[in-house]
């Protein structure tokens, strides 16, 4: 694939034009080869590489590839990752996601300084992580205290504990039931859309027909 050379402008264009996290990831996979060839001694190039690897890191997280994200952090130039603040933030975030430390994850995403170019990716990941966690919580809990639920989603736990309608509404909007008397939320499982598979056989009979045709 012939891609335009890697630059800040190109990185920004890729971030804006990618229609899905998978598309973003696939494009950045191609650019990693070019990034491998760049010298880390030049400060301009180092800045570009820092942006590239940080964006690539978020592309991994957005496609739920945490183990591969870790492998990527081991592939990038170690001198760069040890000194660059943005890449250091990525490593801190990786640790928090790996250990499922929800409070820390939101704190890192919201409070640590991220380069301007990276902001859309950081914000996308926060939304993605919230939605993913909401689905998981909806299956894992039959009854949950508002403060616990708020902690999972990075919401104000004190307000949730006091039954703040604004916080409660975020949960009831997705079908959860708020029991005023017990002051508990009852989650409703949020179904995950099944993977689209054009080769999925609608009927078991089709599989049996296949056996009949070839297996005889």
């Amino acid at each position: 694939m012939d891609l335009p050379p890697l630059s800040k402008e190109q990185l920004s264009a890729v971030l804006k034009s990618s229609r899905s996290p998978t598309e973003l990831y696939n494009t950045l996979v191609e650019y990693e080869v070019e990034a491998c060839l760049m010298p880390t001694t030049d400060s301009d190039v180092s800045e570009l590489l820092s942006l590239f690897y940080s964006t690539f890191f978020f592309a991994h997280l957005l496609t739920d590839q945490i183990y591969e994200a870790r492998a990527m952090t081991q592939r990038m130039p170690q001198g760069l990752s040890q000194n660059d603040p943005s890449l250091q933030n990525c490593l801190t975030l990786l640790r928090a996601v790996w250990q499922r430390k929800y409070e820390s994850i939101y704190k890192i995403l919201r409070e640590l300084p991220w380069p301007e170019l990276l902001r859309p990716a950081v914000e996308s990941y926060e939304t993605y992580f919230q939605e993913k966690t909401l689905k998981e919580v909806s299956y894992a809990y039959e009854a949950i205290r508002p403060a616990t639920a708020a902690n999972y989603l990075g919401l104000d736990t004190t307000a949730a504990e006091q039954g703040d309608p604004a916080v409660i509404q975020k949960f009831t909007a997705v079908g959860w039931i708020w029991d005023e008397s017990s002051r508990l939320l009852h989650p409703k499982p949020i179904p995950t859309a099944p993977e689209k598979d054009t080769r999925l056989y609608d009927e078991v009979s089709q599989i049996m027909a296949l056996v009949g045709k070839y297996g005889g």
Binding site: R100, V137, P189, L200, Y201, V204, I207, L210
Partner: protein, 494 residues
């Protein structure tokens, strides 16, 4: 120069297979003429600029290889500067391997393999193996999109992904079903049907043969290494079920007497991955010979002790076993896996509680399942993360007044959904596998002349033979020829 170029661009695919095959062979003869090398080399810069790697695959590859050879001088192991990553020939080689014509390339297996090896060596020479991973993967899948035939390029590729920690890039190759070795040529049944390499084929075995040059001669070691390395890629991605499957292939490899060291390595990893995947040792695949199991067991005693402590839920003993055999884990490069086994202990103990209890408080979970050092406040997040990741079928119930959360196993409504989801996944997976197996059976039957159509044909020839009277004994031989078949069938109708 232009006339020279027109000769090299004479191959086009807009003709019949026979004509295409003839033109390709003519071009190869032209390129291989002894006097041609110096002419091609002299014009190599112009040619590489003006030939298209896709349209003129064979000419481009030929000139590129000639150019590289000339820079290497007499030393084939020398890597000229231009082939190093970023160099002119590197860029041309990468461009070629990602855009060659998959039909024309079938006539240049040796050269294809040579270029793949060069790219790999060049990337390794500058300690940037990752740079070759994507190129080699695309070259393998471009040549054979089904990746059903194991070649030496597969083994090189998987090794490269491990060295460069590019695990995910290996998955598109590993997820395909690799179930053929390059076809042995010269078999008796092949004399009736010699497919043209440039034609459309249902299986890549038609053109990846032992004589095609796409692979060096494979040994049992190569076969075992591919699956062991594949398992290691899946281990890095923590896809334990796939890792276990690949390791099962390693330990199931047929052997006559001695057990290979790679199989023993595979068995050690198989024990640990089995604990990580299932929380217990699974039974060996039925096809593993008993003497292989006996040999492996005698060589992996520390692993068996560790697994025993794990299965019996004895955390202190597990830690002690892990500590006492530290040098062995290090020597076997299994330290990381053993650490993961210890970390998985709490998870497995919690899962086992579901067999005895229907509901427990977190305090009970801490008492029954957790290792002694974990404080109670750490137990709930651990259990919650297990439930949320879908590791086991349970729900958590909090109450407002009490701080203690209940863990309730197998909620009927939720488990129904989970079961349905699981069954759906299995049907899709099994359906795909069934498709692969069925296709392979069909191809094998066809190659061995065992398909239903051929049986019907045999039946008809027998009938024909009987009807023609005993005097005509030469008839079955004659019908082996395709032209006679039409006459016979017509004869039957009349």
């Amino acid at each position: 120069m232009a006339e020279f170029l027109s000769q090299l661009t004479s191959v086009s695919s807009d003709s019949s297979d026979e004509d295409h095959d003839k033109r390709i062979r003519d071009l190869i003869s032209y390129l291989q003429q002894p006097s041609r090398a110096s002419e091609l080399l002299a014009a190599s810069g112009y040619l590489l600029d003006n030939l298209d790697p896709y349209l003129h695959t064979l000419s481009y590859l030929s000139v590129l290889i000639l150019k590289i050879r000339s820079l290497q001088g007499g030393n084939k192991n020398r890597l000229p500067e231009q082939i190093h990553p970023g160099g002119e020939l590197w860029r041309r080689a990468v461009r070629f391997l990602r855009s060659f014509d998959p039909f024309q390339i079938r006539y240049a297996g040796q050269e294809w393999r040579r270029l793949v090896q060069l790219v790999v060596r060049a990337a390794q020479a500058v300690s940037k193996p990752h740079m070759a991973v994507l190129v080699v993967r695309d070259a393998i899948l471009r040549l054979d999109p089904s990746s059903e035939v194991l070649t030496s390029a597969h083994i090189t590729f998987i090794k490269l992904t491990l060295i460069s920690r590019s695990y995910n890039l290996a998955v598109p190759v590993l997820e395909r079903q690799v179930y053929h070795f390059p076809t042995l040529t010269g078999q008796a049944y092949q004399k009736y049907h010699q497919p043209l390499p440039c034609g459309e084929h249902e299986s890549s075995t038609a053109f990846i043969t032992d004589a095609s040059g796409f692979s060096k001669q494979l040994t049992y070691r190569d076969h075992l290494q591919f699956f062991l390395y594949g398992a290691m890629v899946y281990m890095a991605l923590k896809r334990w079920d796939r890792a276990l499957h690949y390791l099962s292939i390693v330990i199931s490899c047929p052997v006559t007497n001695a057990v290979s060291k790679i199989m023993v390595e595979g068995y050690k990893k198989w024990l640990l991955v089995s604990l990580l995947r299932n929380g217990k040792l699974v039974t060996h695949p039925d096809i593993v010979s008993s003497h292989v199991i006996r040999a492996c067991q005698s060589l992996t005693k520390p692993y068996a002790s560790l697994a025993d402590a794990f299965e019996k839920g004895d955390y202190r003993r597990l830690k002690a076993e892990a500590e006492v055999a530290r040098s062995i884990w290090r020597l076997d490069n299994n330290t990381g896996l053993v650490h993961q086994v210890i970390k998985a202990f709490n998870k497995c103990m919690t899962l086992k509680l579901g067999r005895t209890f229907s509901a427990l408080t977190m305090a009970d979970v801490a008492q029954h399942a957790s290792d002694l050092s974990a404080p109670l406040r750490e137990v709930e997040p651990l259990v919650a993360s297990l439930v949320m990741s879908g590791a086991f079928n349970a729900v958590l119930v909090q109450s407002h007044n009490h701080d203690d959360t209940m863990l309730r196993f197998s909620s009927p409504t939720r488990s129904l959904y989970a079961q349905e989801h699981y069954a759906w996944g299995r049907i899709v997976k099994e359906g795909r596998l069934l498709g692969v197996v069925a296709q392979n059976i069909y191809q094998s039957n066809h190659a061995l002349e065992l398909s239903n159509e051929q049986f019907l044909f045999s039946q008809k020839t027998l009938k024909w033979s009987d009807n023609s009277g005993k005097g005509n004994t030469g008839a079955p031989d004659e019908v082996a020829d395709g032209a006679d078949l039409e006459e016979d069938l017509m004869g039957d109708i009349h």
